[in-house]
Symmetry: C2
Subunit: 365 residues, 2 copies
């Protein structure tokens, strides 16, 4: 029997409706549920499922048990012509981050650039989503965030740093925008976890054990081990990844009054909160820079077009097909997923089914 | 015979005088020579000799043959409340960068933050010097720069990117400031060159040959090879280093109207300039963020003190003595060099001796 439609594939609009309905049942206002749905589905579309629908049930559990505030209203704590500090009122990360990035863009309109530090927020999905919000305004967007501890500083035994992501989006005229969005660690936790579950080893240079010795057992993360920073070992530049992750931790966590390093709260409800936290919630940092605060827009965009075509047309290395521009792989994934629909992992579907049942909602799968 | 003083060791003040005298003979105004001396000697003091006195003879040759402008006067091309774009008038990098960073600090006083893009400049020494200029003002300092091509984007054969450094300096109250200053490449060119001269191989993951294949011969750089980005290979995250170096190239080179990627001019006089350059000179990008534009200074500094002590007191990995805070190694070097004096490499002394003779100046060694 030939299937004409694959019932495992879902449209973005169907997934968004599911998110909105589920969050609505948790007392999240409609607009905020809409925003969260946009962000989670954008991750699926861009082939970053670790930050997509997988997070929905964590968000819901944290809303239901009061660890997150469904009706959060972000407020301004501090302000200057080009800066703002925002209290996220312990809301859904995507809701707080969307609000903060929009404020950064508004600041940039008058001051040339806008910079917003956020405290008292939560996991916000993909950093690239917010950086890209600057693009239609002909601005460069920046976004960073600290995250719960998992990564060891160079020469340290403990995983006291987060994977602290950094995203930057730059308009490029007739070319697609340059969008970089990456964690400042040598590998994603999800990849290490998968190898552990499969009983497979991991190559050297990605993780270390609880003593800080090089490890090839991916399960060390469950026994006090840690992921290495971007750069892998000291020899290959882990101190540079450590520097970058530190700066992101401080801009996100300390400029705002959020937590930092080992104190950043977990983004799942089954891990306890630490006592005596030095700050409030998770921290973010956003930036928006108006192109024409530096140079006539037309000139910059023409230069970006030249930049993109120069790099794209660089001779590929032996065995490689082409040189990518940051953002190309995610854009190609979006194009593909728009045609095929989105395939959720079975475990993610199972988790969502359980929540739907608990909340008396029809589940589309 | 026991020597009571080591004549090979020079005081910082002696080196500065030498730089000022030599640049004076090349028609560089006194203040500008002073600034350049400060920057070059700071690199020596911080144990970064690749960006110190080694560069002096290159600077002098480029001044003498007219490739750099000894009497440059930077000017403002564009302005908004929080931004400036500056034409460096093809001056000495340290002179232009010092001017630009000071303007960023002035902008931050009124706008909360200040951001300065610079075109038409040259090699500026250590990026950390300018980032640190923000510290006495209780501001966070940022500095980046594009550099002549040497690094291959992920999957590319050609070394079309610079080692594009990034520096950030953050005040920390009673603790020493956090100062990160690093190139976004897997290894410094100087280290690769040294191995080539010594006829020694280099481990995999640092360089590739002209076809973009992994190489262990450090001399590949002389035959069209390239250095890998921060992250080493794709598997270990070279695409993240590529993203970071791209963003630095664009902020420094394109926001300002300088050159980018493969077009960034060489910082030595014995390499020719390319024809039909898309921009003007080398580009820089500076930022200054007033702490109290985000949060009361006292609160932030107390949080930084806690950050520094938390990270410094993290348990060291097996076999390691301690965990460093970004900037610790350079600060320890400064302390040591202040006591012992600075030892210049013999090849650097020889080059300077030749220049002293050409310019009829007494050389102190």
């Amino acid at each position: 029997m030939v299937k004409t439609t694959d019932t495992n594939m879902m449209k973005a609009s169907e997934l968004k409706k599911l998110v909105v309905d589920l969050l609505g049942t948790c007392n999240v206002p409609g607009d905020d549920a809409e925003t969260t749905a946009q962000v989670l589905v954008a991750a699926e579309m861009r082939d970053i499922p670790s930050h997509g629908m997988l997070r929905l049930t964590d968000y819901i559990r944290m809303l239901l048990n009061g660890r997150m505030n469904a009706k959060a209203v972000p407020s301004v704590l501090h302000e200057s012509p080009s800066t703002l500090t925002i209290d996220g009122d312990n809301g859904l990360g995507p809701v707080v981050a969307d609000y903060a990035m929009k404020r950064a863009i508004t600041k940039a309109r008058t001051a040339g650039t806008g910079w917003v530090a956020v405290q008292n927020s939560n996991h916000f999905g993909i950093a690239g989503y917010y950086a890209m919000q600057a693009l239609p305004h002909q601005m460069i967007g920046l976004c960073m965030c600290n995250a719960n501890p998992l990564v060891a500083p160079t020469f340290a035994a403990g995983g006291v740093m987060g994977t602290n992501p950094l995203a930057i989006a730059i308009p490029a005229g007739k070319e697609p925008p340059l969008v970089a969005d990456f964690a400042t660690a040598a590998i994603a936790r999800g990849k290490v976890d998968l190898l552990c579950k499969q009983g497979l080893p991991i190559e050297e240079g990605f993780v270390q054990d609880a003593d800080g010795s090089p490890a090839t057992d991916p399960c060390v993360l469950r026994h006090g081990g840690a992921i290495l920073p971007l750069g892998s070992t000291r020899k290959y530049g882990s101190h540079k990844g450590y520097c970058l992750a530190s700066a992101i931790d401080i801009l996100s966590g300390l400029l705002s009054g959020a937590n930092f390093g080992p104190y950043v709260p977990p983004s799942v409800d089954w891990l306890p909160l630490k006592d005596h936290l030095p700050g409030k919630g998770t921290g973010h940092f956003f930036g928006a820079m108006r192109i024409d605060a530096f140079r006539p827009e037309k000139e910059f965009l023409a230069a970006m077009e030249q930049w993109v075509s120069t790099f794209r047309n660089t001779k590929p290395a032996a065995g490689q097909e082409k040189v990518y521009i940051p953002g190309d792989p995610e854009r190609e994934a979006e194009k593909r997923n728009r045609q095929t629909g989105i395939r959720l992992q079975e475990t993610v579907k199972d988790q969502i089914k359980v929540v739907c049942k608990e909340l008396n909602l029809d589940c589309p799968f």
